[in-house]
């Protein structure tokens, strides 16, 4: 085990997969000479050359479209969107093409494409650059969506995504790139579609993904320290497919639950978890499941406003107490 940042873990995953499989290549804006807007692709151009690390024009539609076409022809493209916000100019390629091509052509071709991008707020990047739209992708059959929080998960899931025969959307998070964690030295596998209990507990289950897992973990610590409450934190880690078994098992144990997401909760991620619990664990629930999400405003620039807009440890703590009341 070595301690790595989330960024390094992703970088390692890319490097290792590029060594393993000559068909893996990277394409995106400023992934090469600039070494990545957030340095996830640092050093890869000089190691693998411009054929395998392709700088692209500001043309997200063409970038991901070219990734899809190359994947149809058998390559393994890894497309970097500089941030999730820019998927909005390429949504048609992702949803109407990547996700549907295999099905509408009767299974004659697969699209082994990886799309990776950071989402999230908290950097004062304002309304157009602080979004969490990952569940839009998770809504779409034909896509898979993962959203790791730890460096080890980031590395493992990105590698599995690259090896997967279908299009996978890998959601990263700006605020996680510098966070550190233990990463196994040897190759390891994390199945796409597996949640992970990041903290065991017995009084309440907190479901989260990406950066909000860390917020939930801190809230769980406070609940333990201040109230003696034992909160279980379940990292969804994958939004499509959802690991319904791990989710249900947790609630069958704790009988109480809440969800936390960085984005807006209305028509968001939490509703899917709530609906699953409603449907499959109604009788296990001792209290209504509550959702915590970002305030329902375009993200403001002002630091105090932005801070107020993003779910905080306090907020999670307070809502957990409500669920436990």
């Amino acid at each position: 085990m070595a301690t790595k940042t989330y960024r390094e873990a992703l970088n390692d995953a890319l490097r290792e997969e590029m060594h393993r499989d000559q068909d893996v290549f990277i394409i995106g804006q400023d992934v090469g000479k600039f070494e990545g807007a957030y340095r996830v692709t640092q050093g890869l151009l000089s190691e693998f050359g411009p054929k395998r690390v392709k700088d692209a024009p500001i043309s997200e539609t063409a970038i991901v479209g070219a990734g899809i076409g190359a994947a149809m022809a058998g390559l393994r493209p890894v497309v970097e969107f500089m941030t999730i916000n820019f998927t909005l100019v390429a949504m048609d390629q992702i949803v109407n093409h990547a996700a549907k091509i295999r099905y509408m052509f009767g299974g004659q071709v697969s699209v082994p494409l990886v799309m990776r991008t950071p989402g999230g707020g908290g950097q004062q990047l304002t309304a157009q650059h602080s979004q969490n739209l990952e569940h839009w992708f998770a809504h779409v059959p034909g896509l898979k969506v993962v959203a790791p929080v730890s460096p080890a998960d980031a590395k493992g899931l990105l590698k599995m995504a690259i090896r997967d025969p279908d299009p996978v959307f890998v959601l990263e998070n700006l605020a996680l790139y510098n966070t550190k964690g233990e990463v196994p030295d040897e190759d390891y596998e994390i199945p796409l579609g597996s949640a992970d209990v990041k903290r065991e507990g017995k009084d309440i289950s907190i479901f989260a993904h990406s950066r909000m897992v860390n917020v939930a973990l801190r809230a769980a610590e406070r609940l333990e320290d201040e109230e003696g409450i034992s909160a279980e934190v379940v990292d969804l880690r994958s939004l499509r497919p959802l690991d319904t078994e791990t989710i249900l098992n947790s609630v069958r144990k704790t009988n109480r639950a809440m969800t936390v997401e960085e984005g807006w909760a209305t028509f968001g991620v939490g509703g899917e978890i709530v609906s699953l619990l409603m449907d499959q664990a109604f009788d296990d629930l001792d209290a209504p499941v509550k959702r915590v999400g970002g305030e329902e405003v375009p993200m403001p620039y002002s630091k105090p406003l932005e801070r107020a807009a993003i779910p905080s440890v306090d907020r999670v703590y307070d809502v957990a107490l409500q669920v436990l009341a």
Partner: protein, 326 residues
């Protein structure tokens, strides 16, 4: 004379293919009105020379992407007419297993990488396929076919630019049938001719007579040959006309019957037929034989389609994810 240097059998095959496409689509139109075919159904009728002229220049390693107006392209690339008609009828025996329908024909064996329904959406894909060819140092080229209306959408611009920047062998082939549903280039395009747009991408471009098989074939052949050397993208605009509505649902009130009739006087099949007769390649007898053989083929295809089973509803989830199918 182009024909004198030609392999005569090849020309008769090309002619036959154009007739096949015409008859096939006329039959498809009937099947549509009889509700054997549903959804959108866009015919190539009037545009056969652009289809056969262009595709007959390709080799076995080349790849084709096209839009929803794709029946002719599948046939011209060698797809089995029965499997194409079965697809139009939504049958399990269709080229796309009944999942795609008229707009989404795909035939891996014959290098048809799909018909697509979002205007301009397949252009970036074609760029990607060419990227794969370059990556593997193969010698194929990609032909990407679209209408003149598609040149107004952002994806066109991004794909053209990227193909040039990466030096990819994509032949952007614009079938300008003068209508994007109801609107004409003079109403929705800043330049009146589509080849002019290639200037913004430093791409060689040319406009050709899309009603004349030889114009299309010669220009496309030249372009493809040149691209095999240069590995650079090119642009061709074939000026043509669709004799039918945009899709089967279109009554065509935005244009006059006179205009349609005027263009029908340059029917590409008749034009080619006359040329072949003049050159002594085709005679009345052969022509009738072709018509008859084609009719039989279309009837066989139709029968196959109608008699084929629909996909099982139990298989609804097949083809969503690769692993689950294995």
């Amino acid at each position: 004379m182009a024909t004198t240097t030609e392999n005569k059998q090849q020309l008769l095959d090309n002619y036959r293919m154009m007739v096949l496409i015409r008859h096939f689509e006329e039959r498809a139109a009937q099947l549509y009105t009889q509700a054997h075919i549903g959804g959108y159904c866009h015919l190539n009728i009037g545009e056969e020379a652009t289809v056969v002229g262009a595709l007959s220049t390709l080799g076995p390693k080349d790849i084709v992407f096209t839009a929803y107006r794709d029946h002719g392209h599948a046939l011209a690339l060698g797809s089995d007419p029965g499997a194409v008609m079965a697809e139009l009828c939504g049958k399990a025996t269709g080229v796309s297993k009944g999942r795609g329908g008229s707009m989404h024909l795909f035939d891996l064996e014959h290098r048809l990488y799909g018909g697509y329904g979002i205007v301009g959406g397949h252009l970036p894909l074609a760029v990607g396929a060419a990227l794969a060819i370059q990556y593997r140092e193969e010698d194929g080229v990609v032909m990407c076919i679209f209408g003149e209306g598609a040149t107004n959408i952002g994806a066109f611009h991004e794909a053209m630019n990227m193909a040039k920047v990466y030096h990819l062998p994509v032949l952007f082939f614009c079938a300008n049938n003068q209508y994007a549903m109801g609107s004409m280039p003079e109403e929705d395009s800043a330049v009146p001719e589509m080849w002019m747009k290639a200037c913004a991408y430093d791409m060689a471009a040319e406009r050709i007579d899309g009603m004349d098989f030889f114009s299309v074939r010669e220009a496309t052949r030249r372009a493809v040959e040149r691209m095999r050397e240069t590995r650079e993208p090119m642009f061709l605009e074939a000026f043509t006309y669709r004799f039918r509505g945009h899709s089967m649902a279109d009554a065509g009130r935005y244009r006059s019957q006179d205009e349609v009739r005027e263009w029908q006087r340059r029917d590409p099949i008749q034009l080619l037929g006359r040329r072949l007769e003049e050159d002594g390649i085709l005679d009345t007898r052969t022509r009738e034989d072709i018509e008859k053989a084609v009719d039989e083929e279309v009837e066989r295809a139709t029968r196959f389609a109608l008699e084929s089973p629909s996909p099982e509803t139990d298989d609804l989830y097949q083809y969503v994810y690769t692993e689950e199918d294995e």
